[in-house]
Symmetry: C2
Subunit: 718 residues, 2 copies
Amino acid sequence: MSVLEQLDHPGNGTELKNRAGKPAEGSKEDHFEPNIIIEFDPKSKQAALEWLTAKLQAPRVEGGAELLVYTSHGEEEEETVLYVGATVDRLLIGAEEGRIQKKYKNGDLRDLSLTDIYNYENADDLDNFLTSAEKQRVILKAIESVRATDDETHIPGYSQHHLYPGKSIIKKYLSRKIVTSMYPLHDEESLKRLTSEWCSFNKYFNPQPINSIQKYFGTKIAIYFSFLGFYTVSLIPPALIGVIYFLYPWASMYREATFALFNLIWSTVFLEAWKRYCNTQCFTWGVLEGSGSLSKSLEEPRADYHGTMGTNAVTGKPEPVYPKWKRVLKFYLVTVPIISLCLVVAFFAMLAYFWAEHWIKKHGSQDMGLLTTLQNLLPTIVYAIVIGILNTIYRTIAAKLNKYENHRLQSSYENHLIVKLILFEFVNSFMCLFYVAFYLQDTTLLKTFLGTTLVTQQIVGQVGEAMVPFFFVKRRQTQLKQAAKRAGKAGTDMESPAVVRQSSTGSCKVDDSYKKQAALEGLMDVSAGCNDEYLEMYIQFGYVYLFSCCFPLAALWALFNNFIEIRTDAFKFCKVFRRPFTQQANSIGAWQPAFEIIGLISVITNCALIGMDPGVKKLLPSELSPVNYVLIFVAAEHIVLAIKAGVAILVPDLPKWVSLQMAKQEYQAKLALRKQMKEDISNRKPKLVDRILDAAQKKKVLMDAFKNKGVNKGPTDV
Amino acid sequence: MSVLEQLDHPGNGTELKNRAGKPAEGSKEDHFEPNIIIEFDPKSKQAALEWLTAKLQAPRVEGGAELLVYTSHGEEEEETVLYVGATVDRLLIGAEEGRIQKKYKNGDLRDLSLTDIYNYENADDLDNFLTSAEKQRVILKAIESVRATDDETHIPGYSQHHLYPGKSIIKKYLSRKIVTSMYPLHDEESLKRLTSEWCSFNKYFNPQPINSIQKYFGTKIAIYFSFLGFYTVSLIPPALIGVIYFLYPWASMYREATFALFNLIWSTVFLEAWKRYCNTQCFTWGVLEGSGSLSKSLEEPRADYHGTMGTNAVTGKPEPVYPKWKRVLKFYLVTVPIISLCLVVAFFAMLAYFWAEHWIKKHGSQDMGLLTTLQNLLPTIVYAIVIGILNTIYRTIAAKLNKYENHRLQSSYENHLIVKLILFEFVNSFMCLFYVAFYLQDTTLLKTFLGTTLVTQQIVGQVGEAMVPFFFVKRRQTQLKQAAKRAGKAGTDMESPAVVRQSSTGSCKVDDSYKKQAALEGLMDVSAGCNDEYLEMYIQFGYVYLFSCCFPLAALWALFNNFIEIRTDAFKFCKVFRRPFTQQANSIGAWQPAFEIIGLISVITNCALIGMDPGVKKLLPSELSPVNYVLIFVAAEHIVLAIKAGVAILVPDLPKWVSLQMAKQEYQAKLALRKQMKEDISNRKPKLVDRILDAAQKKKVLMDAFKNKGVNKGPTDV
């Protein structure tokens, strides 16, 4: 049945009919595998629903997406659900157009080329040639590239929701909440395999199956887990040294200094090595490409982006345009003052906490009773609650401001949000440590504070994480019940008008198993992305490195925590969350400089802490004047900063073999282009070339004359 | 006569025969314009000479260069000279192949395309369509790409000089000194125009004609002059402030601090603005392209590069290969110790100077007589001489070591040499200032020292520069005499056998004016590149910024000096030096980070100097403890460093319009490629496409059914 059978295939083509997958109840042709689910708002208008459905099914020559759609109408209060899939041919053509890279039989990654498909690995079974993530990508792209034409000025049924030519229709539906959600279905077989490899207890000590994660969840999530794993491994040396220091205490001015020096340089080594490792991984995944100004211009604006209609400066296509100066003004006149105010409030909350504690210590009762303990704990408890409330308020404000700034690209939107989150967490988590360390200059308090905060946070976190599977089991049961109800309904309303129309074509049904799956997954939590997980890691990184000379065991704690974190996060992605759309990325984005800045600050803090340590002061020759004493530490700080800069410069961002491989690919592309250009030129101006060859002929006569005299025989006659 | 007449030309083609240029004595066809001169060693073997000549003349289909060559044989002790030129057609074809960019009639820069040549500006006069620099580039490339074939294993007449397949023959001749020099001839008309625009006295206050310089001398030299000009202009604000400070002295702790702060941030602004300006310029010249790993792999190894025969890892072509670990070992085990030793010697020479001066001041006679003055000056004089000698020795050692390191690429060779030169100059020029400032802590001595060194160096330099034109006139007379002698000889030996052979073809003569020109230019100095000029600027930059709070007038002196320097350097390039081959560059290379490092160090030095200033100390509240006093300056230093980093990050390396323009070009290239790919695909698999269209047809029936029900009429029916 597949049109690909028409291509010259080394085999006899019969295996093409051997479609894998679940046994379908009806004829194989009637049923299809849905990859993406689109849920409509229950109150959405029928016209809008039918318009989108028709667009998705329409042939591409008419501006449609040429996809298979099965509509499951809900009753009164229930949402209507579209099941979207595609034929194998449509998927393969989409994969070729989307330049999806597949493994060639010689092991290279190459853009898929259909004329040549049987030279790719696993091309014998075309149904399963593309992974579910790739199918999902092709279909998502097809859905998103259904665009309004010149005469479609608004969504049918919603005259207030304007469209402009070239606007992605589904994005408008999503931003106007006509479509409440769109998500890909899990591929249960692959997921099962991935889960057993990744988050079963006996695999806790195995490395993560990053490549399988990348294949299933996409690059962005794979990079998060890869970073988490890489960071965890990088904690082993500081943790080991920390344990040794803890077990064998000795007094020497070099003790803390050596450890701090190691940590300071190690943090740079880790971040540079990560960049290199991440680039290598992205190269093998085929996503390591420059994020230059072109790709930025080609990226579509975010769904929420608004502005007056204009044209894209690069492509010339219509697109909303928002002047940059307005965004800059908004940023400096609105965002900066409000964020600063929030930070100041958080700062004063912290000061209030210290004052309260100080006051209670001075004026509170001094018995050893339970009440006194409670009374002493009171400021801490109040502060924790206040911080919690402030944090919630701040996150709401940050999100609103970020939206208000109206960023054109998803990436810049995210980076701005990350910076906002980091600023607040910095004040929240680290400012009190700075206050204790450098204003109160109380090293003992700092040590206690650091230890208790880190340990408390991690224990609370661990307990929370450990509860996830438990709650999951509970929730799953409820979900299963609800899902069964939904799926049952979906099964009964198959005779609704739209479905009848589609059934008449005989190619738009889905198996009941998919309906059940969709009903279940529709109830699952939506993952909020990895930013909160990165933030958690970021704060931990700060605790480990900023004051490492005070609390050498921090790395051990962090190591232990992350070791469990990896698997609970994995569990969440595999079992708890709805499957996220795969997203491309080739780095951890704004988190890389954020981690680097912590690395820089930690040089200053550690040098200052060691300098302030009275133990160290005693160990230095006493004839040293205080000024020279300070200057020594300033010099040390500069030297460490220089070493860090040296390490960062000397570690190349790409391993030799990757850059060689990239150069090779580029060279071959250039050769091919040049060859083609030459052909073009010779086709277009035969006369000129002929004349040149004529001239060459003329010269040849001259050369022959030379040769006869033995001049041009070259080396042979010497 | 031109084959280009065959192309459809809007005009009638007659102006093609109107060749501009000097009136030739004989028939126009017999004479050609030589662009490049190749001088053979007088002792070189005739076989080698004739082999190269034949190769250069041979048609390209036979591996030749298809150039015009006129051989002027010298007598016994005199060198043989080849005059190399090319026909207009050959030049144009070479320009197209070399992707030389020319201005299209709509003002854009485009790769030259011959089929479309009459849509380029100035294409009416094809003889002068290419500038002399472009002609020179085409011919040089043609000469260099004459390569040894598989059976040419050595140079004829020199069985010890081995060749490998693909080795550029002329590079072997040059590295084996069979060819003593190869240089392009000046284009006297363009040069005259450029000289009058650039280095006549009445143009001293005009901006430099950078675009004309780029056209005539190539990008590398144009970038040097552009940088010199940009730097000079950037000195105006610090010079102005310096003058104000000098004229209106007032005492405040903020006085020096404000000036230093301005200077510190200004240096970063200048360097970032330069990067941006340079990129913009390079973009308009069409040379702004990534210097990625591909272009590095494609660059041919330096002539001196040696190694065992292997293959290029990217192109797979044969090429000498030298293992990286050997270079690294050489660098760390030989270069680093020797260079360090040299630096230590220079450092001790400096110490000896201070000791000697101190000793003489203490023990010498205290009269005011001439002898005493001399005696007091003695250490300075001796030190100056010693430094001069050390400098010469060091430069020889550095060049030898750099050669010994066996760098594959010219660029990395140059960058390593630059770093070596900078290190020594740093110790030479700045170490004594550091010694005075921070070891002796003698601000008065520092001021005197800084002032005298800068002023003396510049006066000596200025006098030297001012002498150039004077000596030039003297030398030129001698050169003219010698040249006349040489040209006369060249005229008489035209009947030597080789010439007779060429004359017989009737197309290989050059005008006597060219012979005279070549004879004269052969005697001119060879420019040593711009590194020494950059080094001079670098040291000046150090004097201006490193201790700016001590000597505010430094910028004024530097400004004045550079103002004259620009024009004397221009004079040297136009009148004194042999014309250099044009070289591509898109930045000032290793000098950029070198200048940035000075900028960084200057933050430390200035903060320290202000902190050490007793005047400032008095102005601060006296209850401040010395430690806190130091900490204030450390904090200030960190803040300035942070501001500098902020400026460097916030100033984009490319102006918005350039990055937009680049994205546009890339986008159009991608569109074109995609269009071509689509055509290719539709050519290669008609059946698949037919089937897809069939399927589309089938879907259309379905859609029609929808439309009839009014579902797909979209917005119109709401």
